[in-house]
Amino acid sequence: MTNNPTNPENEKLVNEDYLWDASGAPDPEIQRLESLLVNFRHADRPLVLPAELPVAPGKFRALLIPMLSLPRLAAAAAILLAAGLGLFFFLRPHSTPEAGPAWDVASLQGAPQIGTKAVAANQPAAKLHVGQTIVTNNDSRASLSQEDLGEIRIDPNSRVRLVQTDANRKRIQLDVGTIHAAIWAPPGTFVVDTPSAVAIDLGCSYTLHVSPDGSGELHTTYGWVGFHLHGRDSFIPAGAMCSTRPQHGPGIPYFEDATPAFREAVAQFDSSAENSADRAAALAKILSEARVRDALSLWHLLFRVNGAERSQVYARFAVLVPPPNGVTRPGILNLDQSMLDLWWNSLGLGEISTWRFWQQSAYPQPPPNTQPLLQKKQPPAK
């Protein structure tokens, strides 16, 4: 439909077009409403399904109906109803709605809520089952623990859902708020989904915060953590932190004792548009301010820049941490993974093979950015 926007009557039609299919001249009022309401939008959370699909009643109905006449069906239904009612009344005082694997829950302060139930202080048997969500308000804190995993402390105003707990993987979802994780499970076992990145424990303690707008921050206090979204990875060793933003994923990690100018430049780099002057200025500042210890950030920068910028990063990185044997400039500029891994390992921040193992277990086929869009995750290879 074509319309002349100068005609008031047509302007109305143009706006209706925008309301209908977002075509035509944008309606500022509708755009404003869309912008205001975007945080309520569906967050594309993965669907968690039982490993075995339930029995499909439709397949059996065709077999059953010819076998049973109507009176027989009525009698069978009556017997089933009576049995069901008896079973219900027999089990009612003892049964609980929850079942399956669960983590222990303790109230550290106030009365955190699991669904509609409050967890009282010193309540001995509170459990968080797979699929359930625990919510803390302004006055409550909680602790989640599992003997094979470790402990996760939940700060006030947080919302955490238990997604998966089995021998190979423990997974929670932090929608908003702050958790402090102390994990003794093998690296790669504990995973936290957030609106803007996935945090993978690589043997550590860390604090993870998610803001209401979906952005987040991760501070590692021991060991290291992998931050991942759509093929974009960041590794955060002890003493370092990393921000993440919706749609963009994890930014450049940096040590918290870096100079204020360095930290500001990293933040500016992460938030600036590609090829913008701000980004170029931020990159120049990062390179000039970088200490040997900040090679952590430079290593990540290699993946986030192109062409001439990557040459600049390489040059500064090579001055701070000379490339080990087997690492060449052309290889790094071409993002040769084995060379990048060798250089990472020379930083003394943890063996990257741990991460590669996790990647292999989570994304067994092609690399994450090229894998089929729908792929069932597999347990780690034995």
Binding site: E16, L19, W20, D21, A22, E29, I30, R32, L33, E34, L36, L37, V38, N39, F40, R41, H42, A43, D44, R45, P46, L47, V48, L49, P50, A51, E52, L53, P54, A56, P57, G58, K59, A99, G100, P101, Q113, T116, V130, G131, T133, V135, N137, N138, N157, S158, R159, R161, V163, Q164, D166, V176, S211, P212, P372, L373, L374, Q375, K376, K377
Partner: protein, 210 residues
């Protein structure tokens, strides 16, 4: 539930099932494949319809509960999928499950169970300046959402699908099983009523639309 697996949410691309061999509507092949136990097909149905289910629920239940209920709706739908004889009715059938789940939610939940962490922070004055800024925008967003929810059922669902979930009118029609004309009219009238409500709330003394 002895073991769990996870289905991702593809953002684009063709179906991963043999849709070309099937006939009927665009998602009929997926529904048939899901009925045969094809998990990726069900995952694709989730990817395609989860926004619709989210919008239907958001029109009726507190935002903080919507994500969990979306999962519940699909977990309820899965074992019942074989009861659906006419696969072309899948969109309307799924929408009905979502509406029933919302009704069931209100039946089981006490009004005092609703928890809003942000309003709690505002009331206690514990927000930082940045958080206050975010909170102001968020409060306005909640007010707009409340205004949409105050509209008659007929209007609030399409408006939420359009303004919150970002679906276009044709997408809404395809996903809900309604006709284009019906969706177009309800969007138009719903938007008119929403403008009136928001205008009444904010017009004196500035007279602005929002």
């Amino acid at each position: 539930m002895a073991a769990l697996s996870e289905l991702g949410t593809p953002r684009s691309g063709p179906p991963a099932v043999n849709a070309v061999h099937e006939t009927g509507g665009p998602d009929d092949a997926l529904v048939r494949a899901a009925q045969r136990g094809d998990r990726p097909a069900f995952g694709l149905l989730y990817a395609r319809y989860s926004r619709m289910v989210h919008g239907i629920l958001l029109a009726r239940v507190p935002f903080s509960d919507v994500d969990d209920l979306v999962q519940d709706v699909f977990l309820q739908a899965l074992p019942r999928l074989n009861t659906l004889r006419d696969v072309s009715r899948f969109p309307g059938w799924l929408a009905s499950i979502a509406r029933n789940r919302a009704t069931d939610f209100h039946r089981r939940t006490k009004p005092t169970d609703e928890f809003d962490e942000e309003s709690a922070s505002v009331q206690t004055g514990t927000l930082t300046p940045t958080a206050n800024h975010v909170s102001h925008a968020s409060a306005e967003a909640h007010a707009v959402l409340d205004a949409i929810r105050s509209l008659p059922d007929t209007y609030r669902e399409p408006l939420i699908l359009r303004l919150v979930e970002g679906m276009t009118g044709p997408e809404i029609a395809a996903r809900t099983g309604l006709t284009h004309g019906s969706v177009r009219v309800t969007l138009h009238r719903g938007m008119q009523q929403l403008r009136e409500i928001l205008g009444r709330r904010t017009s004196p003394p500035t007279g602005g639309a929002l």
